[in-house]
Subunit: 361 residues, 2 copies
């Protein structure tokens, strides 16, 4: 297929073109880098939202609710479920995906699962590139949900404009079980299954911990419990969607604190649909802050830097194994390695030395 | 510290030297490749055993039992717990490690956790290198346990001589929940918590599935249930430890089928200690088969190939980012990327072109 035609169909929002483009990118088929390169200029419209949290926190249901909410506001929504493929969790995932099919018939929604096995170039990189495709195809909100557990949570946080950390009361030891660094990845906390006992306790725990980290343990704990804070308790910053899209946020009043974002804790019950509007409001507020503080530009710039590094890494590896003599050199001398005459490290050093000589290798 | 002194202390079995060597390798400190290269010749004594399975299968307890069993036979045992660092599982892991401290006071046992965060060169590669250090330090058995979930299971299977897949009756849907490819990584199945109801059913399920794959659905199901098969039901191959270590397995009678290994299913109850001797016997039998069939040599050769590739990859990346102008080129032109004049892909291509010119970059 003609790449230019594919691009023009993709940009005009044709679903078949999107699916085809994703397949090309996932499988690193010829032209995938040109495809992504050509789309580079048309990116930046979509808001990228990461949804992460431990297994069983209800992330999928929450994502489904967010999708419905955004759809009712007229936005096109893309969903990417990132699954770093545990060999042992086939059952649960299937259930999640079937549930999601209730919204999958809507052409304003595009759902895609990303598993490490389908991704030759590294799961995180490919996920970011599929986000680009959805962005270019005109999706307004891209929700990236981590399905599995592992490194993916942190990778998702690094690629999103806003990251929601979903926790549930029954996770037992509360936030003490979170490893260090996890609380920092959250722009917004969602205490899901908030109708269960312990929800308020968990919310307070989070708020106190956040307060201590800001050197102000108690200011952030509201006297009245049981409500979402950070949304209804605070004046929303009055930036309209158009202002944000056009990048002209100057008419907006400054956020309460332009230098720091105070992570709100929102109570939700995804199954019942409670608190979803609050979560959306918190996300809007975070986006407004990102724009007003200049943080959005900085985050996107940082991501471009990382992306370029990743692409260089990937292209270098491809060159190394497909265009140089490296593979053959190793094959030819494997007997020496197996016989103990040469170590893998010495052989690798020899290969690298040849590589440094440049293209003649 | 003098590297040669470190190596001689390591090879003579000094624990402090081992700990220091591991730290050097994990952090890729200067000399780490020479250290590993020098040890290359003295490897191959240890048997590397992977223990994998879903969370909650009782892997840690089983590993602890195996350690005790091997210790009572006079073997030195190394344990590596591979944790791909889920940010959400801090609690459970801590519990596992505390339990293991019951055996940690024994100087014939060395326990080490490997987490992705501590590993600059990739978790799988570094784990293999730490196995090498334990091997060189005179450990007879190296147990590599996957603590987290994810890709690590498959990586562990690829680095072990023998891989034990631990399953439990209550995992619900039984082996149907295993993703494709998982059953194939197991050399031995351990049905743990075998005192619970459903253990026999799970064992039969595994055996039937294995039988079908061999094109012989029922031969493998014994008439009498409730016992480990593959061990007590079959004649053990008479290769002694000395034969194996010296690589002179020619005196041993041929295994029942030299071309194929029939994966046995062993019932264990790690908490009670039941079935551990059967599991050890199955592991011994598998090792004998590996030697007699030539598969051990093939697996180790394949691993040397993979290792060399990994080391080349890592060394190339180090060269790319630390010794070439790549990083500076990207920094210098990031404004163009952010401004949309150049895409990350075009910039990466430019960097790669310079790289191909060789060392002058």
């Amino acid at each position: 297929m003609d790449l230019d035609l594919l691009i023009s169909e993709l940009v005009s929002g044709k679903t078949a073109a999107l699916a085809r483009a994703i397949s090309i990118v996932e499988n690193m088929r010829p032209g995938f880098e040109r495809l992504l390169g050509e789309l580079h200029r048309s990116l930046g419209r979509a808001r990228r939202i990461g949804i992460t949290g431990p297994p069983g926190a209800g992330k999928s249901t929450l994502v489904e609710r967010l999708v419905s909410h955004y759809r009712s506001s007229g936005f096109k929504v893309g969903v990417i479920a990132v699954d770093p493929t545990s060999p042992f969790t086939g059952g649960a995932l299937l259930g999640d995906r079937i549930r999601m099919e209730s919204i999958a018939l809507d052409t304003g929604v595009y759902i895609r699962s990303m598993a490490s096995r389908g991704s030759l170039g590294g799961l995180a990189t490919t996920t970011r590139e599929v986000c680009d495709l959805l962005d270019a195809a005109g999706f307004d909100r891209i929700l990236v949900e981590t399905v599995g557990v592992g490194q993916s949570e942190l990778d998702v946080a690094r690629m999103a404009d806003s990251t929601v950390l979903v926790l549930v009361p029954e996770s037992g030891d509360g936030i003490q079980t979170l490893k260090s660094g996890v609380m920092e990845i959250a722009d917004i906390f969602a205490v899901n299954k908030a109708d269960r006992s312990g929800a308020d306790k968990l919310r307070q725990e989070i708020e106190v911990t956040l307060g201590i980290r800001r050197g102000n343990a108690f200011r952030n704990v509201p006297a009245h419990h049981g409500r979402a804070i950070g949304v209804s308790d605070r004046r929303r910053v009055g930036v309209s969607e158009d202002d944000v899209l056009g990048g002209t946020a100057s008419s907006a009043p400054p956020p309460l604190r332009s230098s720091a974002w105070e992570q709100p804790v929102v109570l939700t019950s995804a199954v019942k649909g409670d608190g979803v509007a609050d979560l959306v409001a918190a996300l809007d507020r975070h986006h407004d802050w990102l724009v007003a503080s200049g943080e959005l530009d900085q985050r996107r710039r940082r991501r471009l830097m990382e992306r370029t590094r990743e692409v260089v890494d990937r292209a270098t590896r491809k060159w190394l194994w497909e265009e140089t003599r490296a593979e053959r050199l190793i094959n030819d001398r494997l007997d020496e390695v197996a016989g103990g005459e040469v170590s893998p490290y010495e052989l690798a050093q020899d290969v690298l030395e040849e590589l440094k000589q440049g293209e003649k290798i």
